[in-house]
């Protein structure tokens, strides 16, 4: 790509960028959260959400209101916005947006396969699937018995197809293999997405690469953490790490050898970026590693809006909205379960 996005960016993508910035301005503010936290019932929550940009999105819900209804409606809204962006986008932004949906598609496929394994009905699981990752052939996932089956019959036409190259095997799909499959898919997906952003160059690369690097490192950490005490061998573990990011390559090699959390922590000490994150874990308020990562992610996504003429804003907006939805669901759960002590541990969006 040519450098100097400011010269031609707005011709194709100016409208959408304006739109997404407007959407970002409608994210809930700190004051909104303070008010939400004070709610006594879900009805109160609904009334308060009506005063924000969510508007009357719950108006047609029959009583009683439940957390899952709120969640579904919020997802629907986000999905509607995203569809709008997508339908009005031009290349290469539309490819970028497709890449964004891929992660949800992977999650959905894995969710359905797990469901099929546990003999749950497809309908039930479909409700849990993220609407952003929906595709027509999705429901047929359960007819596949091996990964290559899955690829050949179902996924070959979807955007997920290229990520499957590394994971073709004739192993039966049991729980462990599905998990491995998910991580391999993810690794491949992240690498491809990263390459796409890098090749695109310009501001998009400058904004998106750090975000994706962080995402890759986060996956590496989480894979390591989750593999402690399982039968996953260290070599296999290393193959699951995405091969880019701040940790690549030395950090990943060290991580592959780590055997418990303390070892992991000592590895992290070499990385200025992640050291404070790990130090914050378990500190005041009993934050988990997940929370800390989320906070960091929010921070990076908010910073993405400081630059103009790049695609990162779309990614950042969707991620921020997701975080906001997680926050609202958290608050709603706390309210409905009368578990108010932890209600404040949502992750504020700055």
């Amino acid at each position: 790509m040519l450098e100097g996005a400011e010269l031609y960016f707005n011709v194709d993508h100016g409208y959408l960028e304006g739109l997404v910035r407007g959407c970002k301005a409608s994210l809930l503010t700190q004051q909104d959260y303070i008010n939400l936290v004070q709610c006594e019932t879900l009805e109160d929550l609904k009334i308060h959400l009506q005063t924000t940009d969510y508007g009357n999105f719950l108006a047609n819900q029959t009583n009683p209101l439940t957390v899952s209804k709120i969640d579904t409606e919020m997802r629907k809204r986000l999905c509607g916005e995203f569809e709008y962006f997508r339908n009005h986008s031009l290349e290469p932004l539309s490819t970028f947006l497709t890449y964004m949906t891929c992660s949800y598609m992977i999650d959905n496929v894995i969710l359905l396969m797990n469901g099929a394994l546990q003999k749950k009905s497809v309908k039930e699981i479909l409700g849990k699937c993220h609407p952003l990752g929906r595709f027509t052939e999705m429901e047929a996932v359960n007819i596949a018995e091996t990964p290559s089956d899955l690829f050949n019959a179902i996924l070959v036409e979807t955007p997920l197809a290229p990520f499957f190259q590394d994971c073709m095997s004739e192993n039966a799909l049991d729980e462990l293999n599905i998990e491995l499959l998910r991580n391999k898919l993810y690794k491949s997906y992240l690498e491809t997405f990263y390459k796409f952003c890098k090749n695109h160059g310009d501001v998009t690369a400058e904004v998106m690469c750090p975000i994706l690097e962080f995402e890759a490192d986060r996956r590496a950490f989480i894979i390591t953490l989750n593999s402690f005490g399982t039968e996953l061998s260290k070599e296999d573990r290393e193959t699951l790490y995405p091969t880019f990011g701040k940790l690549y390559p030395e950090g990943l090699r060290l991580l592959a050898q780590a055997e418990d959390f303390d070892q992991m922590k000592s590895i992290v000490d070499h990385y200025v970026v992640y050291k404070p994150l790990f130090e914050a874990v378990g500190g005041s308020g009993g934050k988990t590693l997940e929370d800390v990562f989320y906070e960091r992610e929010v921070q990076m996504n908010v910073l993405a809006f400081n630059r103009q003429f790049h695609y990162g804003v779309f990614y950042a907006y969707v991620k921020l909205k997701e975080q906001e939805m997680r926050n609202i669901v958290w608050i709603a759960e706390c309210i409905s379960q009368r578990h108010r002590t932890k209600i404040n541990s949502y992750i504020p969006i700055l």
């Binding site: 009805e43 497809v122 429901e139 047929a140 179902i154 036409e157």
Partner: protein, 828 residues
């Protein structure tokens, strides 16, 4: 009209509403639209307020209403507009309304559900029939044998492949856009162990939910083996296909088809019956819904208003605070008395003093509304500040007309506005939704006056579609000139330009009675004559307009009790403005009156004189206008410049002095000030300036006086005024520029279009035919360019002259409008 000059007196009243009568009182106030409630619970969030339960009930009801409305709309019916006066229902009626609408909604839901399921069934039957009747049979047979023979050598050893392989069928229908994906997935998943044939339905079926016609793809899959069958079924499930049993024998299929058709006929009858019942229910909804909707909306509004009240300590009454025009206080009292008497209690309203600035209320009628709108779009006036709107009624159309002076154009505009004014009561005109039309219609009286004034200035400029008219005989005589100077025929033939000399006796008989002499339109120096005239006129109008603005400030100072500002601000400002630019106006007029045509050759130049005045010099070639001119001019300049420090330091020093004096004896006055608090008038005059507040608040306000801020404020004001005087005077020259542009444009249009057309053919027939399109072009361009475009630009410039040049002399426009609590909007 009396109330136009400044905004009405508005008082803060406290309403004690007994709990039993609070609802009726507020609903009565909503009908009248007298008061603006203040939110006394601003710190309480929406869901913690007192009447939130009632509001929520209203919202629940509204949700039901939306459902009913949506159903009515879907049935293609319209809701009638509610008729008559519908007061907010008493709270106990809410239950009745709720019950009725719930019952109706439930009934509707049931019937709708019935109809829906019937339609789905019918749809299924129709689809099934369509799949069976699609005629896959013969194709299948060929495909079957063809497929089998193709596969035979590949699959098995030769010798009776059909023996143990039974061919099974899956038949069904799928939405067309999914068909290709389904076909591909089937092929990929089952690897040729099946044959699928797809075909499109010829006749679109009605979609059971939306009722829109939708086509379907029917398919017939034949396959071998049970495992494949399961896979196929899973795949068809995931594509949400309708799958139907498919009998193998042709006869059996035909029988099934007949049965299906019979069933669907029966089903259609039942459906018709259901739909009749549905339309009955909808008819009831149409009757019930509109009044109920209005009532509940009013009820919700009442509860929202009640939510802004606070509860008294004894819980016996609600306390509301509201702004109300003093003139409406008796009406308010009466309304409260009437509506609370029914409950046997009495609601009371009494005035309380207030620290906050009351809202601005200026009552308008349909004539003044558009002028007030011009002022308000700059800024709503501070409470009780001088309102520029009444003066705008005349000055705005006049300044517009100065830029738009043309009898013809003005007349067209006047007639257009007149038509709107005459038709204003017609419902069709009022109901028009077009935004541009609404803008014009809203400003019809403004347009009327603008047109009228344009006709007037058009007569002064003596222009009608850029042509001069000679109503009176011209003051110049060419004959006299010709006789006196003895022009011969040869001389006339040689010279196309001749000069009329007013100094020759008999040539200039006297000024034209009204406006510009028509002979000027023939003159070559027409433009330079008009330029000089219009430029001077612009400056005179500008200085008068600005001086008027400064004088209006006097009324503000008097009203707010700031007499020091009269002496320390208005007087220096006026001196500065009139001493410099007023003097310029004087020079212009003096020269008009004093210098005659005889002394034109040695006439002094005002421009040079004015420049010299500031430089304290004189040029020997420029004759003085009157004796002692230089002394007078020097004095004026010194006087004007001396006013600058007065303006800069006067008010701040005065305030500081007074502040010091007050602080020296702070306690003594507090008591008599406190006495004022009880008086209702305390809030009335409290609206001075930023520096000064009357009544009991004064002491606190004075204590906050920050010298640096006051000085800064005044310095800005001074600089703005002094520089403004110069730039604003120059700014009024736009009057000249715009009127020149308008005259030239219409001149060009006449010369380039109409005159060419008129000069085309000498024969009557040709000219008549040619003139039709030419006149059409002339008319369209006159309206589009001269009336609309030029009119808009003149309008904008007039607007600017009012907002910037006129209003900044006295108008702060920092108030806010009184927006009373009223049902009027909900009634519509």
């Amino acid at each position: 009209m009396g109330s136009m000059f400044r905004s009405e007196e508005v008082a803060l009243v406290q309403l004690f509403l007994p709990t039993a009568a609070a609802y009726t009182c507020v609903s009565q106030l909503g009908e009248l639209g007298l008061v603006e409630f203040r939110d006394l619970n601003a710190s309480v969030s929406a869901f913690q307020r007192r009447f939130v339960v009632d509001v929520r009930r209203c919202e629940e009801l509204e949700k039901t209403f939306t459902f009913l409305q949506e159903e009515v709309r879907r049935a293609g019916l319209v809701l009638p507009r509610p008729e008559g006066r519908l007061p907010a229902p008493p709270p106990r009626d809410l239950l009745r309304i709720q019950e009725e609408t719930e019952r109706l909604a439930q009934e509707l839901r049931d019937v709708r559900g019935n109809q829906q399921s019937l339609r789905v069934q019918l749809h299924q039957l129709q689809l099934h029939a369509a799949v069976l009747g699609q005629g896959h049979g013969p194709q299948l047979a060929t495909a079957h044998t063809y497929g089998a023979s193709e596969r035979t050598p590949l699959l098995q050893a030769p010798g009776g492949p059909h023996q143990d392989l039974r061919v099974n069928f899956v038949a069904g229908a799928v939405e067309p856009h999914k068909a290709p994906a389904l076909e591909r997935l089937l092929w990929r998943a089952c690897r040729g162990f099946l044959i699928a044939s797809f075909s499109e339905l010829e006749r679109p079926l009605e979609h059971p939910v939306t009722g829109e016609p939708a086509t379907w793809m029917t398919f017939l899959i034949s396959y071998w083996g049970e495992q494949i069958g399961q896979k196929i079924r899973k795949i068809t499930d995931c594509f949400h296909c309708h799958v139907f049993p498919f009998l193998e024998q042709e006869e059996a299929r035909r029988a099934a088809l007949q049965q299906l058709q019979q069933q669907s006929q029966e089903m259609q009858e039942v459906l018709g019956e259901t739909e009749r019942f549905l339309s009955q229910v909808l008819g009831r909804v149409q009757q019930l819904l509109p009044p109920a909707q209005v009532q509940v909306r009013k009820m919700k509004a009442v509860y929202l208003a009640l939510n802004q009240c606070s509860v008294s300590t004894t819980h016996k009454c609600l306390i509301a605070e509201a702004w109300c025009a003093t003139r409406d206080l008796p009406a308010l009292q009466e309304a409260l008395r009437d509506s609370s008497a029914e409950e046997g209690v009495s609601a009371v309203a009494h005035r309380i003093p207030s620290r906050d600035m009351p809202p601005t209320l200026i009552r308008t009628n349909r004539f003044t509304a558009s002028f007030q709108g011009i002022v308000d779009s700059y800024g709503v006036g501070r409470y009780q500040e001088v309102n520029p709107a009444p003066y705008t009624i005349i000055t705005f159309p006049f300044l517009f007309a100065v830029m738009f002076g043309d009898v013809g154009h003005g007349l067209l505009m006047f007639l257009f506005a007149l038509a709107m004014v005459l038709a204003e009561n017609r419902p069709a005109v009022k109901a028009a939704q077009n935004e541009i039309w609404q803008t014009f219609f809203g400003g019809r009286y403004l347009l009327l006056l603008m047109g009228l004034f344009s006709v007037y200035t058009g007569f002064i400029y003596n222009e009608c579609f850029s042509r001069a008219s000679s109503i009176f005989p011209s003051g110049w005589s060419v004959a006299a000139m010709a006789n006196q100077s003895g022009w011969s025929d040869a001389f006339l033939a040689q010279h196309t330009m001749l000069t009329l000399d007013p100094n020759v006796t008999g040539v200039f008989l006297g000024p034209y009675p009204f406006g510009i002499d028509p002979i000027w339109s023939l003159a070559a120096n027409h433009l330079s004559f008009l330029n000089s005239f219009k430029m001077k006129m612009s400056v005179i109008l500008g200085v008068v307009h600005m001086a008027f603005g400064v004088v209006l400030g006097v009324f503000n100072h008097m009203h707010f009790g700031q007499r020091h500002r009269l002496l320390l601000e208005t007087l220096p400002e006026l001196t500065f403005l009139l001493g410099l630019f007023g003097y310029l106006v004087f020079l212009v007029i003096y020269k008009w009156l004093h210098v005659s045509a005889a002394s034109a050759a040695s006439a002094p130049s005002i421009l040079i004189h004015f420049i010299n005045m500031f430089l304290f010099s004189h040029s020997p070639t420029n004759r003085p206008l009157y004796p002692q001119q230089e002394v007078v001019q020097a004095m004026l300049v010194v006087l004007a410049l001396a006013m600058v420090p007065v303006l800069l330091l006067g008010t701040p020093l005065h305030l500081l002095c007074r502040h010091r004096r007050r602080r020296r004896r702070p306690t003594g006055r507090k008591e008599d000030k406190a006495g004022l608090l009880g008086l209702p008038d305390a809030s009335v005059n409290g609206w001075g300036s930023d520096e000064e507040k009357a009544g009991g608040l004064e002491d606190e306000q004075e204590a906050e006086l920050v010298p640096s801020e006051v000085f800064m404020h005044q310095a800005i004001h001074t600089i703005e005024f002094c520089l403004g005087c110069i730039s604003n005077t120059a700014s009024y020259l736009r009057l000249w520029a715009l009127s020149l542009a308008h005259a030239q444009l219409s001149e060009v249009l006449w010369a380039m279009v109409m005159r060419i057309g008129l000069g085309l053919g000498r024969e009557v027939g040709v000219a008549a035919v040619v003139l039709v399109p030419i006149f059409a072009a002339f008319a369209v361009m006159t309206v589009a360019i001269l009336l609309v475009m030029e009119g808009l630009s003149a309008f904008l410039h007039a607007l600017r002259l009012h907002w910037v040049e006129f209003q900044n002399k006295f108008y702060s426009g920092t108030g806010y409008k009184l927006s009373p609590f009223t049902f009027a909007a909900t009634d519509d």
